[in-house]
């Protein structure tokens, strides 16, 4: 049971100390629209969509940043609040391509359909890689915007395609600051920050240098937290939505990061680090985040053990390979064997290798490649 009792939209909710009003609402299943909020990041209060009314509090506090206190009475859906949210969202949409966002036919259109309203292809949601998973779409659908009265002031920026992993299309950026914060707070890198000010503000590197000249490690954390199509993995850009998702452990090193593979027709489209685990908490490195797709489907990748017969490697089954190793090992004395394992193996595999060496051969001559 929680220590704090508060009322949100007439519903009494008990939460622990330190939980925000937004957190309390989420626990109780009350939806409050958000865009700059992310559970892994410190509250930011920039998108102004999670504003709520709290009795005895001045103005409209952002629920993502306001700690819940005992006896608080919160209203999240008054007509005035919804009107303000609509106003803010309309401002946001005036900078973001939105013909599809406000079109009732959006869900019926496919990427190759001809638009009845002749909307430019770069402005259409259905051709955006984020279509269907875009958080801006979700919020627009909740608040309901049929028409943006303000003139559209798109940025008209070129898309940054200088790195092989992801594209940066700041025409779609809503400046929620998640990428900047994840890079700083979670990754501790700070390769990007907000540049310029006023309506010129955009996330970017110091002095506008290329990412490769910045501190960027290409971990892709920014891509993962981006709510819109501004940061998109290049490989999956035009692949649409996945048909299957598979949870797996990253094969690149012994840390054992938990990953979710998004598959379509048996092929990996994108690899996403999983949040709900005790190993990597939603983070991955460049190898796990962007390297797996290519390696798994690479034609040169070994998929079976190879045994050299008559000077040539030939495919074999695991049983054959293990059988061969066992038969050869038995020809040596115990202290004639050294075992080298790989740092890419999981901890469990390496545990088995050292166990095998120590019990099977009775010595400690076991190592792995990362020490070489």
């Amino acid at each position: 049971m929680g220590e704090i009792t508060l009322t949100i939209d007439g519903q009494e909710i008990e939460v622990d100390t330190g939980v925000t009003v937004l957190g309390a609402a989420q626990q109780a299943g009350i939806y409050i629209p958000t865009l700059c909020y992310h559970p892994d990041l410190t509250p930011y209060g920039a998108c102004r969509l999670c504003l709520v009314e709290i009795e005895n509090m001045r103005g409209l506090p952002a629920s993502c940043a306001t700690p819940a206190t005992n006896g608080m009475v919160v209203r999240t859906k008054t007509p005035q609040l919804q009107e303000f949210r609509r106003g803010v969202l309309e401002l946001m949409l005036s900078e973001h391509p939105h013909p599809c966002l406000t079109c009732w036919r959006r869900e019926r259109c496919g990427p190759f359909d001809i638009c009845l309203r002749s909307v430019d292809i770069t402005q259409r949601c259905v051709t955006c890689p984020k279509n269907g998973t875009c958080e801006l779409q979700e919020v627009v659908d909740y608040i309901g915007i049929e028409n943006v009265e303000l003139p559209s002031t798109l940025r008209g920026l070129p898309i940054d395609r200088e790195n092989p992993f992801f594209e940066r299309d700041y025409n779609l950026c809503i400046l929620c600051g998640r990428c900047v914060r994840v890079c700083q707070e979670v990754r501790g890198v700070g390769a990007i920050a907000f540049t310029s000010r006023g309506s010129e503000t955009l996330p970017g590197t110091a002095f506008g240098h290329a990412l490769r000249d910045s501190d960027c490690r290409y971990c892709g954390a920014c891509v993962d937290v981006c709510p819109t199509g501004a940061l998109i993995e290049r490989r999956r850009k035009y692949e649409g939505l996945p048909d299957t998702r598979v949870t797996t452990t990253c094969p690149y090193c012994g840390v054992g990061c938990q990953l979710e593979l998004e598959l379509k027709d048996g092929h990996i489209m994108e690899v996403l680090p999983l949040r709900d685990n005790d190993v990597n908490h939603g983070q991955a490195c460049v190898k796990g985040r962007f390297g797996i797709t290519e390696v798994v489907h690479h034609p040169d990748r070994l998929t079976t053990p190879l045994i050299k017969k008559n000077g040539k490697f030939e495919g074999a089954t695991w049983d054959e390979a293990l059988e061969l190793i066992a038969s050869k090992l038995s020809g040596f004395k115990k202290n004639e064997v050294v075992v080298i394992s790989s740092a890419k193996c999981t901890n469990e595999d390496n545990y088995v290798v050292q166990k095998f060496t120590r019990t099977g051969f009775g010595h400690n001559n076991v190592d792995h490649c990362a020490r070489l």
């Binding site: 930011y44 803010v88 400046l175």
Partner: protein
């Protein structure tokens, strides 16, 4: 030497200075004085004294507030009251030194007034002048009177007696004294200072921060700069009292780097405080320890917002963060903090040098004390004035400020800088206090007071201030970043004559959204100039949109220049001066402005001789002119006929 001994020494030095048998010359060397040429005046004074072989004492002082009359020099001749001289040049000061100090002619023609006891024939008493009479100088008490680089002069004038008094009280008693004085934050929002201090005092923990906000950024405002340049110790003493009351151990002065003189004065002051054991560990032998650092801001307007200011001190991008948590709970480096404005701190030291009752006698029920305003714009006497709260807007402009330049008609006054609003002539009787101003749609702000006359277009003024806030928006929250840009676009459209009837509604809708949903008060107040001009000058907007007319004749896209055929003398002056050759005509032929080519620079109007006055500027009007130059028919003005011919040929 104990502090008490130092104090006695300072007082006797000060008295010796006052009673010196040598002439004492005070030169206003604040930034306003320097900009007007005080450095050259000072150099001339030194040269003259040397030339005449006169031994005199020279003190460089801060600004006394009469910026319109800079450079200002005060001369105290033994046995005579102090006389203030204004608008001096190296030439006039040269005459003055010789005539007053040698020939004993006090030159009433150059004098502004006398200060102190005694009178001089032909020179009024400065305190009785309309600019000074309504003023009550509390925070500016020493500005212009003492040498800001000499701690002894501050001490001799009651300096640090407030700190000593506070140190004898308990922390709670100090806070209660501030609460009793009714002092409210002078930086803009007007929160009760005692309340803020109490919130910080309540917080547990041994590391708390006190911050002095000297990031004055409003266009046309210079209260804090002047105070720091003229009397830095009054601010620092206030901070020490605050540090003791709230239990803070560290402090910062966040001063914009564009104020080099203020920073220099603060640095000097801090060094002297160190020497006098007024800063650092065990101040004046008590348990109070307080370290103070100057942090130079890089000139972002938003860094005047307290949470952005703290981000900036931390070395981060200056962007506000949501509240709660309030700075008193989690401020600088996540520790309990309190931010007060320069002027607030100077008031604190004044309150403790006297007492809360004395302070609270000034002002109104809800706004106690005095407020400093930077008078700027189309007002006769621009400068820095400190008036009791409750004085009317009209009194500030007409009494203190001396009315409108060239006796033009008053149009509006903008209080509170770009976050404030415009008040029309109907509000001239409005008392200046926090609540009345808020009710009228504007804010007290930090004290900017920009006066507009009949030649100022209110739509254009709103556009200007919005363009400032739009530029200075940090870009973090959506309403401020995007909303102000849309508002600015609409205003630009209106001033170009392309406004739509629906634009006024749209402006109001956007303004309401921005005001209610912005993260910080930069966005929360940015629409104020638009909202107040819409409230008080709506007809001007409508004229721009519907009639395409700008009554102030200020919006270039809406005005046209014509040469009146019945007045034009065909003198060729305008024709030759037009930078784009938009005037056709010939000698003794009526000139005609080619409206297609005209860029509306107004040069023709400026150069047309006054006695002809043939060029007119109109808006939404057409004046009938011949389609091509015709012979001049107008009779020449009777006087200076030859002059006209000469001008034409010599030009």
């Amino acid at each position: 030497m104990t502090f008490d001994e130092r104090r006695k020494q300072a007082i006797s030095d000060w008295e010796a200075l006052q009673q010196s048998d040598k002439p004492h010359i005070l030169v206003g060397m604040a930034t306003c004085g320097r900009a007007a040429g005080a450095a050259a005046v000072l150099a001339t004074i030194k040269e003259e004294l040397a030339r005449l072989g006169i031994e005199a004492l020279i003190t460089e002082v801060g600004c006394i507030g009469m910026c319109y009359a800079e450079p200002l020099v005060d001369i105290i001749k033994p046995g005579r009251p102090r006389i203030s001289y204004g608008n001096l040049t190296p030439e006039t000061v040269k005459q003055l030194i010789e005539e007053y100090l040698v020939n004993d002619n006090p030159r009433p023609d150059l004098a502004m007034g006398t200060i102190g006891e005694g009178s001089v024939e032909g020179i009024p008493e400065l305190a009785e002048l309309p600019i000074m009479k309504p003023q009550v100088r509390i925070s500016l008490r020493n500005c212009g009177h003492i040498d800001p680089a000499d701690i002894n002069q501050y001490i001799a004038n009651g300096g640090y007696s407030g700190l000593i008094r506070a140190l004898k009280m308990t922390q709670k008693e100090v806070i209660d004294e501030v609460s009793k004085s009714g002092l409210r934050g002078r930086g803009g929002a007007g929160a009760f200072t005692g309340f803020k201090w109490e919130r910080l005092w309540e917080q547990p923990g041994d590391v708390k921060y006190l911050i002095c906000n000297a990031d004055e950024g409003d266009p046309g405002a210079f209260m804090d700069r002047s105070l720091l340049e003229g009397d830095p110790h009054s601010v620092l003493e206030g901070m020490l009292i605050g540090a003791y009351a709230t239990g803070s151990s560290h402090g910062y002065i966040y001063c914009r780097a564009e104020y080099p003189l203020a920073i220099q004065r603060l640095e000097t002051a801090l060094k002297q405080m160190e020497e006098y054991n007024l800063i650092g560990d065990n101040i004046l032998g008590t348990d109070l320890s307080f370290n103070l650092e100057i942090k130079e801001g890089a000139g972002a307007f938003v860094c005047g917002e307290e949470t952005a200011l703290m981000m900036s001190i931390e070395g981060k991008r200056g962007m506000p963060r949501p509240r709660p948590p309030f700075p008193a709970q989690s401020g600088l480096w996540g520790k309990p903090s309190n931010v007060n404005n320069v002027e607030t701190w100077a008031n604190v030291s004044a309150i403790f040098q006297r007492d809360a009752e004395w302070y609270a006698q000034y002002g109104t029920e809800s706004s106690k004390g005095t407020k400093t305003f930077a008078l700027a714009g189309k007002v006769v006497r621009t400068g820095l004035v400190e008036v009791p709260m409750g004085i009317t807007v009209g009194d500030i402009i007409y009494e203190v400020g001396g009315g409108i330049v060239n006796n033009k008609e008053f149009r509006a006054v903008l209080t509170g800088g770009p976050s404030g609003g415009c008040l029309p002539a109907s509000k001239l009787n409005l008392p200046v206090d926090y609540d009345s101003l808020t009710q009228a749609g504007t804010i007290m702000g930090s004290g900017g007071f920009v006066v507009a006359d009949e030649d100022t277009c209110m739509v254009d003024m709103a556009r200007y201030f919005l363009s400032f806030t739009q530029d200075e928006s940090c870009g973090k929250c959506v309403p401020c970043r995007v909303g102000t840009r849309h508002m600015l676009d609409i205003l630009e459209r209106i001033t170009r004559g392309e406004g739509q009837p629906s634009d006024i509604d749209l402006l109001e809708r956007l303004a309401t959204t921005i005001k209610s949903t912005s993260l910080c008060q930069l966005g929360g107040t940015a629409p104020n100039p638009v909202l107040t001009t819409l409230r008080y000058f709506r007809e001007e907007y409508e004229e721009h949109i519907v009639e395409k007319r700008c009554r102030a004749l200020a919006c270039t896209e809406l005005i046209k220049f014509f040469i009146l055929p019945d007045k034009c003398q065909g003198c060729m002056i305008c024709l030759r001066n037009c930078p784009v050759d938009a005037i056709i005509g010939d000698r003794r032929m009526v000139h005609i402005v080619d409206q297609e080519k005209c860029i509306k620079c107004g040069t023709c109007m400026d150069v047309c001789p006054d006695r002809f006055s043939a060029v007119v500027k109109v808006s939404a009007e057409e004046i009938e002119v011949p389609s091509e130059p015709i012979p001049v028919t107008a009779s020449r003005p009777a006087t200076k006929k030859e002059d006209a011919g000469e001008t034409a040929t010599n030009d």
